[in-house]
């Protein structure tokens, strides 16, 4: 079978962190995603590290931060501030099934390519905007990035150790999974509705709300019980011990969870700690929860000289959930499971050369062609191709638009 979104066209204004993963999920599965970019209002990810060999070389095409979000897309440059820009963009939108933007609310309308203009030329268009806090409301125009959204949504407050400052995930997490994946899901649902009824629609997604929804139990604990869930480190309701234990080597750790008494005995055996197995302080799950700090100290004393990967294998052989904490070198070079699954795919990029890209984390059994086909586009790489093929413009028309700095 061919890719499921073949024949779907997306005119894509997304930039920075959260937007481009939305349309990447569509591009990887066959949609024709046309990035509308401008050298005059650059997607700043194009000039943020990492760069091939650590060198930007004044290029707009060497950032891995940008590249991993933009596989299988085409790039067209249009100077959005040019008076002729709305006309040419609306001609593209006329051919599009989906329009996407994560500009600040109101920006698309100000540029003359808002939802009303788009549906005037394409009545059944699906038009997604994904502001940090949604398209309306008193704080719709607050400036922000993934880390500030993490703070705003409760992810910080709830993540880390209770007696230390909140830490979140250490990344702009809402940008990478919650916001883009909810956006893609909403678009696909709207596509399904359109296929059945012919009706398009506008989608107003709030990036912050996608993250709050993933913290739902803490929210309901507040509304129903008046509780603040607070930070709980690595503890869990159903496992004790559960934690991250230091092992031998530089910053090497073992994550493990003991879900029942059999696993507890297995852990004690693997650690060579018969004395712990017989220690009345830890004999039941209830005891182990209650004395988790003492317990963690006892375990750490027995893991610090051990190899995390060896312990992981021994524990897994005994059916105990355990995993060595992997860093990103480990994942790229030395993870047998990811290698087996083909998670990292090398694509040859014109400026960056062969580079690693993440494959989608799911496999559709009927797809019989590669999902990762083309690396990220160079800025404006497909301007001529798209204007010729999609809009039927002639070479001399395109030349004139280029000279006029419309296509810049």
């Amino acid at each position: 079978m061919t890719l499921p979104l073949r024949g779907v066209r997306v005119v894509d204004f997304t930039w920075l962190g959260a937007g481009p993963y939305t349309t990447r999920a569509m591009a990887d599965h066959g949609a024709d995603v046309i990035r509308v970019e401008s050298g005059k209002r650059l997607d700043r990810l194009r000039i943020l590290p990492p760069f091939r060999d650590g060198k930007r070389l004044d290029s707009l095409n060497r950032s891995g931060y940008f590249a991993d979000r933009n596989t299988n897309k085409r790039s067209v440059t249009v100077n959005l501030k040019h008076p002729e820009a709305p006309a040419i963009i609306l001609r593209l939108i006329e051919t599009a099934d989906v329009v996407t933007s994560n500009f600040a609310p109101g920006t698309m309308a100000k540029l003359g390519v808002g939802y009303d203009e788009a549906r005037a030329v394409r009545p059944d268009v699906i038009y997604l905007e994904m502001g940090m806090q949604g398209g309306y409301g008193p704080d719709a125009n607050v400036v922000g990035y993934g880390q500030t959204v993490s703070a705003l949504t409760g992810l910080y407050h709830l993540s880390g150790l209770p007696d230390q400052v909140p830490v979140g995930t250490g990344t702009n997490y809402p940008d990478h999974v919650p916001a883009p994946m909810h956006a893609t899901f909403a678009i696909l649902a709207a596509l399904r509705h359109r296929r059945r009824t012919g009706e398009g629609q506008h989608i107003d997604l709030s990036q912050a709300e996608t993250m709050v929804g993933l913290l739902g139990p803490a929210m309901v604990d507040a509304t129903a019980n008046g509780h603040d869930t607070m930070r709980q480190g690595n503890l869990a309701h159903d496992a004790a011990p559960q934690g991250v234990y230091r092992c031998s080597g530089d910053d090497r750790w073992l994550a493990l969870s003991v879900l029942d008494d059999d696993q507890w005995r297995a852990l004690c055996e693997v650690l060579g700690a018969e004395e712990l197995a017989g220690d009345a302080r830890f004999s039941s799950m209830r005891d182990r929860h209650a004395r988790h700090e003492e317990l963690d100290a006892e375990i750490t004393a027995r893991t610090t000289a051990r190899d995390a990967v060896e312990l992981m294998h021994e524990l897994q052989r005994r059916g105990v959930p355990a995993g060595a904490m992997k860093d990103y070198r480990d994942l790229l070079e030395n993870d047998p499971q990811l290698r087996h699954r083909g998670h990292f795919v090398v694509l040859d990029h014109p400026e960056m050369g062969p580079s690693a890209y993440n494959a989608p984390p799911f496999r559709l059994s009927s797809i019989d062609e590669p999902v990762l086909r083309a690396p990220a586009p160079l800025l404006g790489q497909h301007t001529r191709e798209v204007l010729t093929e999609v809009l039927g413009l002639s070479g001399s028309e395109i030349d004139a638009m280029t000279t006029d700095e419309l296509l810049a």
Partner: protein
């Protein structure tokens, strides 16, 4: 009901085998109008025993964890270890559009002769989504996992936590939830295909890989530059980038790095007459090596805290908004429930929970679809509310005294 009230997925019939890996997938489908039916074992889904509990009292209908993730779904009870239960399950599968297996142990289904091939033979258009810790094949396919273990093996744990202390995971089983979100996309792709062609397929989702997707830029950092990113929580990354205390909690300030807001920040602190603020205009602050060094971070922190410790997080947020500066409060759940922006969008919704007779206020949909908005249609179902066998031993609440 029309599509406008039930959402764009009206008419899609989803069966869900409950488990940590797809409970949110089912919720995403239910909120957009699909009919999602939990197929629970006689003892109930394990999540019914998961804290927090309503009024802190355990009971199979009192878990707020279950109550949130399963709002809008139906429940039937089937014993899949009993031939009658298997027969009934096959009948349900024959009529369904989607089977979501979120147990993380699909081999249990294969052992009951309910594996992907057997189910597809009952229903060739079935989209069968299997969400597992590591995917259905490969050397780890049969390994045991929990959310914490997946955060470790997916790499994100190495970026979370304290620079000089232990790595910590995010709250709320975000590894399982990441898998559930990707599962929703994979499932929707397969549904679109099945509705066009009549052919279903297997959607094989790996939670480990889903966590790897959250790497931010750590994968290309190693691939392109040979740099292994590590955690740096607990202290600011550089002057004016990180968590700072205030009188009633913390705020996150981002005025350097991605944010190019240093002049606004200094202007604000000067306006407020903060001692030492004008020193932030010196050239040295434009030097990233200084701003990211211990001396620069400490000097900035001293100046900023002179101001921030006299202000609440809400006051700082209000002033930062006026200065167009990315500073956000570190909100608690209670703060969010009271937040005017979320209120203006009608984000929190009141859902009646019949099993307890209570109305639960919970997060609603994070997107507003103009033609087919969808909504959380009902509270979480009673065990077996929509049919199935009699209740055996109900699921037991997990240990008292355990964390929430």
């Amino acid at each position: 009901m029309t599509a406008a009230t039930t959402g764009p997925l009206a008419g899609i019939d989803v069966l869900e085998l409950p488990g940590p890996y797809a409970e949110y997938t089912g919720k995403l489908f239910a909120d957009l109008g699909a009919r999602v039916t939990l197929v629970e074992p006689p003892a109930g889904a394990a999540a019914r025993g998961r804290p927090p509990f309503l009024d802190d009292r355990a009971g199979p209908e009192r878990s707020l964890w279950f109550g949130y993730f399963n709002a809008g779904k139906r429940s039937v009870v089937l014993d899949l270890d009993d031939p009658d239960g298997v027969t009934r399950f096959r009948e349900l599968v024959a009529e369904a559009d989607v089977l979501l297996d979120g147990t993380g142990h699909p081999r249990l289904m294969a052992d009951r002769e309910l594996g992907p091939a057997q189910l597809r033979s009952l229903n060739p258009r079935l989209v069968h989504t299997v969400v597992t810790p590591f995917g259905t094949d490969g050397p780890y396919a049969d390994w045991e996992a929990t959310d914490l273990v997946l955060m470790a093996l997916g790499g994100l744990l190495s970026l979370g936590g304290y620079a000089d202390g232990q790595p910590t995971r995010a709250y709320g089983d975000q590894a399982c939830l990441a898998a559930a979100q990707f599962a929703a996309i994979g499932t929707m792709l397969a549904v679109l295909e099945a509705e066009e062609t009549g052919a279903g397929q297997l959607v094989d989702v790996s939670a480990q890989e889903s966590v790897v997707m959250a790497h931010e830029n750590a994968v290309p950092y190693y691939d392109l530059e040979g740099v292994v990113r590590t955690r740096n929580g607990g202290t600011p990354r550089q002057a004016a980038v990180g968590v700072y205390p205030c009188s009633d909690g913390h705020v996150y300030l981002l005025a350097k790095g991605l944010g190019v807001f240093w002049p606004q920040l200094v202007g604000w602190l000067e306006e407020e007459g903060v001692e030492g603020a004008s020193g932030l205009r010196e050239d040295k602050w434009q030097d990233d090596t200084f701003a990211a060094g211990e001396e620069g971070k400490a000097e900035f922190q001293a100046v900023f805290e002179r101001f921030s410790m006299q202000q609440t997080k809400e006051e700082l947020y209000r002033q930062a908004k006026a200065h167009r500066l990315p500073l956000c409060p570190v909100y608690t759940p209670a703060d969010l429930v009271a937040n005017p922006q979320l209120a203006a969008r009608g984000y929190f919704v009141d859902v009646h929970h019949e099993a307890t007779g209570r109305t639960l206020r919970m997060p609603g949909l994070p997107y507003q679809l103009s033609a087919t908005p969808g909504r959380t249609q009902s509270g979480a179902p009673r065990l077996g509310e929509h049919g199935g066998g009699s209740l055996a031993e109900p699921v037991e609440a997990t240990t008292a005294g355990a964390p929430r």
